[in-house]
């Protein structure tokens, strides 16, 4: 990721590249949404707590970055 405030060796600003939105859902229900700036650390180690999770429920984590790239991954609560 790149904050957009760093410069390369030639003194040119490096273009920003960072995750802007993270959406987390469990069994299809939204449990957290985060809107992020470049001030979120590269490895942010995000923690939160939700109620009503059951074994077998699918957790889905989806993100979008400022260049429009996106990805979603899923895991099952065991």
């Amino acid at each position: 990721m790149e904050s957009g405030f760093r410069r390369d060796d030639a003194g040119e600003l490096l273009p920003a590249h960072f995750i802007t939105t993270v959406r987390i859902s469990v069994a299809g229900r939204s449990v957290l949404e985060a809107t992020m700036s470049p001030a979120v650390s590269q490895d942010p180690l995000l923690s939160f707590r939700f109620r009503g999770g059951n074994a077998g429920d699918r957790i889905r984590v989806a993100w979008i970055d400022n260049k429009g790239h996106q990805r979603a991954d899923e895991a099952v609560i065991s």
């Binding site: 942010p44 923690s47 939160f48």
Partner: protein, 150 residues
């Protein structure tokens, strides 16, 4: 000459008034208002939070270490005991973009988040909580040995 920051801020005022009905923008707000993430990214619903170190709301537990060596990794934990907490925001006034991250907390999710942010230099971390359409804040000062911006 029109100051682009100020013009942008003025654009926010009517929306703020409509959404929250709060006197968020006080005198001199142009200098103290956080630039919103939505604006930076061209998304809808810009919003402004008053910055500046004030008395902390005791119902917002904000944990930041007293001193942090690496400004690229500043651990921040926020827990709100204010009923109907729907948003938790983490802000650093001294950063180039003060609003670091905004969390939407749906019903069923505890008003608790922990993450790591970057700080350019020593300063104040602010946790703002939106509950019942109002904003509440807590503040903690932290010392940064090596800044996390360059």
């Amino acid at each position: 000459v029109a100051n682009p920051d100020r013009r942008r801020l003025l654009g926010i005022v009517p929306l703020l008034g409509a959404v929250s009905g709060l006197g968020l923008l006080r005198a001199g707000a142009a200098g103290t208002a956080a630039r919103s993430l939505g604006e930076e990214e061209g998304h809808a619903a810009p919003e402004t939070v008053p910055l500046g170190h004030r008395a902390s709301d005791p119902r917002i537990l904000l944990q930041v270490p007293e001193s942090v060596e690496d400004g690229f990794f500043v651990p921040v934990t926020v827990e709100s005991r204010i009923p109907e907490t729907r948003e938790i925001l983490i802000l650093v006034e001294e950063n180039p973009v003060p609003l670091a991250v905004r969390f939407s907390i749906p019903a069923g999710t505890d008003p608790y988040v922990a993450t790591r942010i970057k700080m350019a230099r020593s300063g104040v971390v602010q946790a703002a909580v939106k509950a019942g359409g109002k904003l509440y804040s807590s503040f903690v000062e932290t010392k940064i040995t090596v800044g996390g911006c360059s």
